[in-house]
Symmetry: C2
Subunit: 340 residues, 2 copies
């Protein structure tokens, strides 16, 4: 019996009008059987074409939850265009509640555009890149910070060399009206879905839907934010909401440089003395690292190196020396004229 | 060369006056080398004798953090008696950020009083039971609910058959003035540290210092609660604080029965629609379970089976069918006259 080389394919017709449910089939490979990624599609004819992905990292469940919530009301609310939702593109990692894919140990968000003959993460990336991404002009990739980091509700973009695409991307990100829009200077961008989407000329809004535990109040903010994005694109009618987060009702655009990452001075347990969105001054005590192997080592106080805003902070996990424990940020002075 | 059978021992003298630092040495066994558990001791002479333990489960870091914070101010604040603090009694689990000990896969809080010739968890339990526990009349064992559950700041006790010990235990628990004191009916109590401590006639306050991510605001509440416990025992002078949690400034005593545990109707992702300490009525929507393997399965709504208070709720992790997703609770009508 000959082994046919399967190619990734859909079990639903995205061109059919109305609501469709099905799967994106990722073929089996040398390391794992075929996977069926759930896919939801609404085709309301002419208009914007949007792809929403969730669950690229398995310990970021806010994205799949918000994506499932959208499916409840989008059939009533969407007036034009096409929306494809793939709420859980890495089911192996989601089921294991791990960032990386357990079968091959790879970070799915570092292997785009993937390889048809690669390991399972690379085959997922290949299927998403070849089958779903070409169907869309705009992508919402729903991340969060996972259980070991606290983070405010945010939409993030990395700096993009193409000024026009950067302007469109910042406009899209700010349209979510999340408490934070963040320009994120990142040391390691090869293989990210957003890097690949940029190379294809697409606008991609990467959300960071908080961190730590998943809770009802925060999920309502995330859902509002994604709905604001759909309204801005014209897919849904209505007025955008400005969510209240930690008693603040404002959105701001921040910038995190590589130098805004603070690393742990030792191994031990991190004790936060500040909270996300705190505005801290140079010299403020913002955390303590407790070495635990011996108490005579003493605790190490961590001070803000400059006046800045606490954007992300460890909230779980044992910390090794040199691991990031803080992402600070500053106010971003946009060089882009507001296009709203 | 003869192999000496080592016995657990301390590298510090608990009878020496003042502050001492050292280790509790857990001998090596067939599965792992010797462990040195950090120990801090203050001896201020006559008075109550208190043991504080943290890190019995490795993914509950609030306990070790609060224990380390106590060490900063207790030398100035403690006026009499003895306090022994072992902030991290399961370093293998803490370093791995896992509930169970990674070497033997055991839950340290199910193997008390342990075995000298057992696996590493059993050897830790044996060392704590034989060396530390006899030094104390009262124990504070600092738990929290870990990254996959949300929970309010609480002190918990299981029902105790001995009415006098139960009354003393509830008095001690309520003295923390945490938002919740909880009488917890538990199906699986063999081998717990508190069960063993009860059998030795000791009063033990088991804290549950929240759940989900570790944050500065919540840690301040936990630290206040433990300080209130020290004040009630007479070890520290001062007025107890009544911490504000979720805009409420009150403490209440609740009771969770075995029938107050709600299990997931399917495997998938849990979407909370209520928050801890919400008072819910029979029939209220409190959560949704999203099966993810196929979207055509549809989401399953979860309703409150009776009027109750949401005490604990999943906030992370993929959920299997039959796993607990809610701990509800009702108001406890104390049969014990207030002894405060």
């Amino acid at each position: 019996m000959a082994t046919m080389t399967e190619t990734p394919h859909l079990t639903l017709d995205l061109d059919a009008p109305g609501v469709r449910l099905g799967h994106l089939v990722v073929p089996k490979g040398h390391d794992y059987e075929a996977l069926s990624l759930p896919v939801f599609s609404i085709n309301r004819g002419e208009g914007p074409r949007l792809l929403i992905t969730g669950g690229i990292h398995g310990d970021e469940l806010e994205g799949p939850i918000v994506a499932r919530r959208l499916m409840d009301w989008l059939p009533e609310a969407q007036t034009c265009g096409r929306v494809i939702i793939a709420p859980e593109i890495n089911p192996l990692a989601v089921q294991a509640w791990t960032r990386n894919t357990p079968v091959d140990g790879k970070n799915l968000n570092r292997v785009f555009p993937g390889r048809a003959d690669g390991s399972v993460s690379e085959r997922i990336a290949d299927a998403v890149s070849r089958i779903l991404l070409p169907m869309a002009d705009t992508v919402f990739d729903l991340h969060s910070f996972g259980p070991t980091w606290d983070f405010p509700p945010a939409v993030v973009t990395h700096p993009i060399a193409d000024a026009d695409l950067m302007a469109k991307t910042v406009w899209m990100a700010e349209a979510f009206k999340m408490p934070v829009t963040l320009i994120w200077e990142h040391p390691d961008r090869v293989g990210m879905l957003d890097t690949w989407a940029h190379s294809q000329g697409k606008v991609i809004a990467v959300t960071e839907l908080g961190g730590g535990g998943v809770g009802a109040e925060a999920l309502a903010i995330y859902e509002d934010g994604v709905r604001n994005g759909l309204i801005a694109l014209g897919l849904v009618k209505g007025r955008s909401a400005a969510p209240t987060f930690r008693h603040q009702n404002s959105s701001r655009t921040l910038k995190k440089l590589l130098s805004d990452e603070l690393r742990s001075p030792a191994r031990g347990i991190f004790d936060p003395r500040s909270s996300v969105l705190d505005e801290v001054k140079q010299g403020d005590l913002i955390g303590v690292l407790h070495p635990m192997d011996s108490l005579s080592a003493g605790s190490i106080e961590i001070y803000a190196p400059s006046t800045s805003i606490v954007c992300g902070m460890r909230c779980g996990g044992y910390v090794e020396a040199g691991e990031n424990i803080f992402y600070l940020a500053g106010t971003h002075k946009s060089s882009v004229a507001s296009s709203e």
